[in-house]
């Protein structure tokens, strides 16, 4: 607690007071429990309540709120690659595996998630060193590979499930079970948004479909429903934005009659905050009706930008659509939307629609990487050139990794939750680091092992949120994004 507060105490009044109190306490000769501290702070009106819950104004649920401590990152873009991207074909270079190609793994498992294990298989793409750091990255993703000098990789992540659905839950909510709040919901619940005319949290599904776990990845769980991700993409607009078949004058007539009815009703119930909040929600909705079509309209983007993202690719419709989603993500961040979750890959389909390369990983990844690589790299570069990366955190993640051996009788790799790679770049992230490692064959994390909860805790930390204080009481338990786990990964912080 000491270290955290001394780090955070610079700008925030609350932080500074806490720091001073802490120093005072630790200097004093006798031990005083922190309950006493909390009492003193409460008396001063500094802590809203003992659980640090954000105070949400029901009339302005998206109003921007301060984090626990000052932080560089204000907004987040998550690039979520559904289906479990193979670490061995992308970021985790394992030359040893080339030697072992087509040999059985001595002492390896005979059966993995889908069935019998086959022989070890070399990385299916060539690797080469990139940038100043000389990071080895595969030829599968040449555009993203150029950005490695800005990226902090974590090569030693683990998940607690080897099934896509529960594992996506674990990545997005910190629990394998259904029904827990997603990362984006936690963040917007805590911080609100900088833009009051747009949803604070937008989930952009892949043009090929939604991920395996669908809306659970952007669900509010038991948090107030205001913090659910709103889905919006270049292909699918926000629902119910426009009343179909209603002429504008009639629309306006309904609206103004409603305003009068509600105003009169509020007059008869003076001081009722809930009624006022509901009136306010219609005003916000009306503003969204204007701002959402505006943000989805990419006609104002220059040809140069469309080309940079690959949105003009007439040969590859999925790539063009994903590229448009990437542009949409940038536009949302530009306008102060707090949390944007950009999906790459749909649901399980034997690896046809997402990164679940069970059957023929090389052929399948050739297609998927085409869709991901250029647009996602362009998004990061575009954010950077516009200065947005100074306060935006970009996360690249996937639910687990893949095995170093092929499945028996196929040229694909099975699920592997014991060691895989995700990365981040942007505000607050230490550029050009590779943290943690898997074993020589890339099967298991062996050095600086981090369950995904550590990765999520670090994301919260970068946003100025203490993963242990950001909690919500549900059925008798103070729930957190990281369950009872969690730890920050300091090695990847700037």
């Amino acid at each position: 607690m000491n270290s955290r507060n001394s780090k955070s105490g610079k700008g925030s009044l609350l932080g500074r007071v806490l720091l001073n109190r802490q120093q005072f306490l630790s200097n004093s000769a006798t031990a005083i429990g922190s309950i006493a501290l909390a009492d003193m702070l409460c008396a001063d009106g500094l802590l809203l309540d003992s659980t640090d819950q954000p105070r949400i104004d029901p009339a302005q649920p998206y109003a921007a709120r301060l984090p626990h401590f000052p932080a560089k990152a204000k907004n987040v873009v998550v690039i979520f690659c559904a289906g479990a991207v193979s670490q061995l074909e992308t970021w985790d270079y394992k030359p040893e595996l080339i030697k072992w190609d087509d040999k059985p793994l001595p002492g390896g498992p005979s059966v993995t998630f889908q069935g019998p294990a086959g022989n070890l298989a070399r990385p299916q793409y060539n690797f080469r060193q990139r940038g100043q750091t000389g990071k080895w990255v595969s030829d599968l993703i040449p555009h993203l590979a150029k950005l490695t000098d800005d990226i902090a990789f974590v090569h030693s992540l683990t998940s607690t499930s080897n099934t896509h659905g529960p594992a996506e839950n674990f990545l997005s909510t910190g629990f394998v079970l259904d029904g827990f709040p997603s990362l984006g919901s936690w963040v917007t619940y805590a911080l609100g948004s900088e833009n009051q005319n747009l949803p604070s949290y937008v989930a952009i599904p892949d043009p090929r479909g939604v991920p395996q776990n669908g809306s659970n990845n952007w669900g509010p769980g038991f948090l107030p429903v205001a913090f659910q991700g709103t889905t919006l993409s270049s292909k699918e607009p926000v629902r119910h934005l426009i009343p179909p078949g209603i002429a504008p004058p009639a629309d306006l007539a309904s609206r103004s009659l409603l305003q009068k009815m509600n105003a009169r009703h509020l007059e008869q119930h003076p001081g009722d905050g809930k009624l006022a909040a509901r009136i306010a929600s219609y005003e916000l909705a009306a503003r969204m009706q204007l701002s959402v079509p505006e943000i989805s309209d990419l006609s104002t983007e220059s040809a140069h930008i469309l080309k940079m993202y690959g949105a003009d690719d007439s040969q590859n419709a999925n790539k063009a659509a994903f590229a448009k989603n990437c542009i949409l993500a940038r536009r949302l961040i530009e306008r102060g939307v707090r949390f944007v979750q950009l999906f790459n890959g749909a649901y399980a389909s034997g690896g046809v629609l997402n990164w679940d390369g069970h059957n023929a990983i090389k052929e399948q990844y050739d297609l998927h990487a085409q869709i991901l690589d250029q647009p996602a790299a362009a998004l990061i570069q575009d954010l950077k050139q516009r200065g947005l990366l100074d306060d935006t955190l970009v996360i690249w993640c996937t639910e687990f990794g893949r095995m170093p051996f092929f499945q028996k009788g196929s040229k694909g790799r099975d699920h592997n939750p014991d060691g895989f790679t995700c990365w981040m770049t942007g505000a607050g992230v230490k550029p050009g680091v590779s943290h943690g490692a898997t074993d020589d064959l890339g099967q298991k994390a062996v050095q600086d092992i981090h369950p995904l909860t550590h990765f999520n805790a670090t994301i919260l930390h970068l946003l100025g949120l203490d993963f242990e204080r950001l909690s919500f009481e549900h059925n008798g338990i103070q729930r957190r994004l990281t369950n009872v786990e969690g730890k920050i990964i300091p090695e990847i912080l700037a």
Binding site: S34, G115, G209, A226, R239, A253, M261, Q289, G476
Partner: protein
């Protein structure tokens, strides 16, 4: 001797080293606690107890953390986990995990302190360990002394806080409030009129009785229950496939509320109801998401983990729903706040470790009656078969003039050869060819004119054969006429493609029909006689007469199963008519039998021999420890079963323990839920946590008084409603006043009726009731909200509803995680986790959905049509009627004028759309 001496020297040296370092003994407060404070309390103090270890309170410190045992072994520093952990060389093990290790002097102090006996004086700790068993809800329900009413408890608390109750709400407001509360629908204008006109005493009571007798009551209150048990019609998790027969549980809950099933019975039904014919009720056990077999990894650890997760969900459901306890917290370690140990948790698992998430037949009295009926229909079908035998085409063996084949080809299952009755002492069935290998016949039957099988050995008929392949208990010559069917009761020839069976009757018989088969059970199709002849003889001579053969049958073609049902080809006109009539009757009956016997199925779990349950170290199925037996939470009772107790007994015992009036939690938890259903907030605001971490009751005596009344009423939920909604407390106005706001802004003391927004289902149902489109059909399979009923994500919502889609929302097919496209945004639970309290959010998405959706526009249109239909073209009357339908009142002059303008310029539907969206329609008065 030398050896001993050397050891003594060593000890002396060690002793003098320590003595030099510290001449005096270690004092806990002066020397040890500062070390703990500096290095340990951040993670092992009063705020946090990582790995269950707390070092700032004596009792807890000695007890130790999860899996480590006692922190200090007095006198034996070498055996103490504390010393081992602070001196560990392993980076992952060493304490503290971050920052510098303890200094050598600090470690030495700790070692010496322990070796000196680890003296920790009493009374020096800054915090006290709360006795977690000493908690209000764990104590027996206390019957408050004196005479009380519900209102007296509320009044007393208000007075103590210098507050008073608000005046009574007007009668219509109360009726509107209580109608929404009890039925989830607005009162009709006629109901409002009738109540206003009922000025006699007892009018309120009569109104409540009407509402409680309404079938809509169960539809409303079942929803609260389904929220709690996270009911859905799909399996959840990634594939989220349809659970097509989950709905009988939903119907059970609706019926139970409507019947006012005593709550103690309601509990027992849901845990063990299969034992007394309430099959659907046990759907409760398996409401959670579950991984289907194909979704679980093939490796053994994945399988074990999935099983643990599915049992865990059952324990959680029971703990939260009935007991208001988060028992699941003890899966990995003893509960941090409540007296629930990990052993308790796994003992609870043992009660339900024989439950599988599966479908089974729904046995209800109605279903049983239908089955009885099916049995009698079967008898009739047998009679018909018998009669139809007389209409089988007569065999035309090759001795008769040849015609084109008319009879169906041979079948492995059953073949009939009918011929003009002959007198026979013997009958011979000769196989001339097969579809391969030696012929096999499982039964050869010969019928006389009375339909009696005279071939049976039991008829004293004897059989001999051309030769046998004898396989004991499977192929024996005697099996050909023993009356039993199937391959393992058959005769097998010893010659490929041929063989014969000859029967000799005890006396001459008039026979007219032979029935034979390869395998009447239909499992085998090989070794079938494709060419054969049937001959009879009267005496003992060999003057055989051919009566039937295969020459007039269609040829056998492997793999085809041609329709072998009776045809009327070749029958006389009269026989054809009779046969057709019988055939029609038969197919009719068979269809009915099929329906009756396939029966309704229900996703309510199947029950098998319970798994052995072990305490799992840190909840990890790969680290099993000792086996546990079924036992209730030991802080609350002593019920314990033997290891070999039956599956049924386990659930029954658990159910009875929960449903006992002695259980301090059961009645309190339910009464609180009922209260919450009426006031939005419970007396205990954390309805599924009555433990130490939950909130305290605002009115503890009232809660106990209500619980006592509840039990005394025979656990009648309706009696509780009556008590509450007729109270003065409930009848208060919802208006705010400055004093109340100042002293009790959250209205926990109930100085007014706390108004709230109506819930998702109530909004949709009410809109349909107001537009006149509500379809009141109850029960049964749910209607669709999406283009599919389950499966991978990407559900496309249905926008325009007709017919079944206009039923109450509780009858919608509930897709887990995919909330309804319009009303889901109104805090509708997604059935992932238990929802004990719905939030009450106000979001712009709600506004967009309710203002712009096709559903709202269509209901606005329907309302417009209804108004025109009911009151004609007069705009003023139309608006008045709409106000009565939607808001239970007359519009004011101003309101009338404003609405009139809109209706005149833009049509009734434009006005209706505003009406459906206005706050007054969406808030309880």
């Amino acid at each position: 001797m030398m050896h001993c001496y050397a050891r003594m020297i060593c000890m002396l040296v060690a002793f003098s080293y320590v003595s030099l370092l510290r001449a005096q003994t270690i004092d806990f407060v002066r020397d040890v606690r500062p070390i703990f404070q500096k290095h340990c309390y951040e993670c092992h103090g009063d705020k946090k107890q990582k790995s269950g270890l707390r070092l700032d309170v004596k009792q807890a410190a000695f007890k130790g953390g999860d899996g480590y045992g006692e922190t200090f072994s007095p006198g034996k520093s070498g055996d103490s986990p504390l010393i081992r952990l602070v001196t560990s060389k392993d980076k992952n093990d060493r304490m503290p995990p971050e920052g510098d290790a303890l200094k050598t002097e600090e470690i030495q102090t700790l070692i010496q302190w322990i070796d000196e006996g680890a003296t920790w004086p009493d009374g020096v700790d800054a915090s006290l360990l709360k006795n977690i068993r000493d908690h209000w809800s764990f104590k027996p329900i206390a019957i408050p002394k004196g005479i009380h009413t519900l209102d007296s408890f509320i009044q007393e608390k208000l007075e103590m806080n210098g507050l008073t109750m608000s005046p009574e709400a007007n009668r219509v407001s109360w009726l509107r409030r209580v109608t929404f509360d009890l039925t989830g629908l607005p009162p009709t204008p006629e109901e409002v009129r009738a109540f206003v006109d009922d000025t006699g005493s007892g009018a309120f009571e009569r109104a409540v009785d009407l509402l409680l007798h309404s079938p809509h009551y169960g539809e409303r209150w079942a929803q609260h229950w389904l929220d709690l048990v996270r009911f859905a019609d799909t399996h959840g998790f990634e594939v989220n496939t349809e659970r097509p027969n989950a709905w009988p549980y939903r119907d059970y809950v609706i019926r139970a509320f409507n019947e006012d099933k005593p709550y103690d019975r309601f509990i027992q039904d849901q845990i063990a109801g299969d034992q007394w014919g309430e099959d659907a009720a046990t759907g409760f056990l398996v409401t959670a998401s579950v991984l289907l077999p194909g979704q679980i990894g093939k490796d053994a650890p994945s399988i074990r983990l999935a099983r643990q997760d599915s049992i865990d969900e059952i324990v959680n459901n029971i703990g939260q729903t009935f007991l208001g306890l988060s028992i699941g917290c003890a899966r990995c370690h003893d509960h941090k706040f409540d007296p629930i140990s990990a052993i308790d948790y796994y003992s609870m698992q043992a009660f339900v470790s024989g439950v599988e998430y599966e479908e089974r037949e729904l046995r209800t009295p109605a279903a049983e009656a239908i089955k009885q009926e099916a049995a009698s229909m079967r008898v009739r079908v047998a009679e018909i078969d018998e009669q139809l035998n007389n209409f089988e085409s007569l065999a035309r063996p090759q001795t008769l003039p040849q015609t084109l084949p008319q009879r169906p080809s041979v079948s492995p299952r059953k073949n009939t050869d009918r011929f003009v009755a002959v007198t026979a002492k013997r009958l011979r069935f000769t196989v001339l060819a097969t579809n391969g290998l030696e012929p096999c016949i499982d039964e050869l039957e010969v019928f006389n004119g009375q339909g009696q099988n005279v071939a049976l050995a039991s008829f004293d008929t004897r059989a001999k054969t051309s030769g046998n392949t004898h396989v004991p208990d499977r192929h024996e010559a005697r099996f050909v006429h023993n009356g039993l069917y199937g391959n393992s009761q058959s005769w097998l020839s010893n010659e490929p493609g041929k063989g014969w069976v000859e029967l000799e009757f005890p006396s001459e018989q008039e026979v007219s029909r032979v029935v034979w088969s390869r395998d009447r059970e239909g499992k085998f199709e090989d070794r079938l006689a494709t060419e054969y002849k049937i001959e009879t003889a009267t005496g003992t001579d060999n003057n055989w007469q051919l009566v039937a053969d295969s020459t007039d049958r269609f040829p056998w073609i492997a793999g085809t199963d041609r329709d072998r049902s009776l045809t009327t080809v070749g029958l006389s006109g009269e026989d054809a008519t009779k046969a057709t009539r019988l055939l029609d009757e038969k197919s009719n009956l068979e269809a009915k039998i099929k329906t009756a016997e396939s029966g309704q199925r229900v996703f309510a779990g199947t029950f098998r021999k319970p798994d052995e349950i072990h305490l799992l170290s840190r909840g990890d199925p790969e680290q099993p420890r000792e086996e546990v037996v079924p036992a209730v939470l030991r802080a609350f009772g002593e019920v314990e079963l033997k290891k070999d107790s039956s599956e049924q007994e386990r659930r029954l015992v658990l159910a009875r323990w929960i449903a006992s009036p002695e259980n301090p939690l059961t009645a309190r938890v339910m009464v609180n839920r009922i209260w919450q259903g009426h006031f939005g907030v419970g007396i205990v605001p954390t309805p599924s946590d009555f433990g130490n971490n939950g909130m305290k009751p605002s009115h503890p005596e009232l809660l106990d008084w209500l619980s006592t009344e509840f039990i005394r009423s025979g656990w009648s939920i309706k009696a509780m409603h009556r008590l509450i909604v007729l109270s003065r407390t409930y009848r208060q106005s919802s208006a705010l006043n400055a004093k109340g706001v100042e002293k009790d802004a959250d209205v926990r003391l109930l100085w007014r009726y706390p108004s709230r927004r109506i819930e998702a289902e109530t909004i949709r149902d009410s809109m349909l009731a107001i537009s006149g489109k509500l379809n009141l059909k109850m029960y049964g399979r749910g209607y669709d909200l999406f283009d599919k009923r389950g499966g991978l994500s990407g559900y496309k919502p249905i926008e325009s509803f007709r017919g079944e889609g206009l039923r109450r929302m509780i009858y919608a097919h509930k897709v887990r995680r995919e909330t309804e496209a319009i009303f889901g945004a109104f805090d509708c639970p997604d059935a992932g986790q238990s929802t004990a309290v719905r939030r009450e959010s106000m979001t712009p998405i709600q506004a967009l959905n309710l203002f712009n959706s096709v559903f709202t526009l269509e209901q606005s249109q329907a309302l417009a049509e209804r108004l025109s239909r009911e009151v004609g073209k007069d705009i003023e009357q139309q608006i008045q009627r709409a106000y009565h339908l939607a808001l239970s009142r007359e519009p004011s002059i101003d309101e009338l004028r404003e609405a009139e303008f809109v209706v005149r310029e833009y049509g009734l539907e434009t006005f209706g759309r505003a009406l459906f969206n206005c706050n007054e329609a969406l808030f309880l008065p």
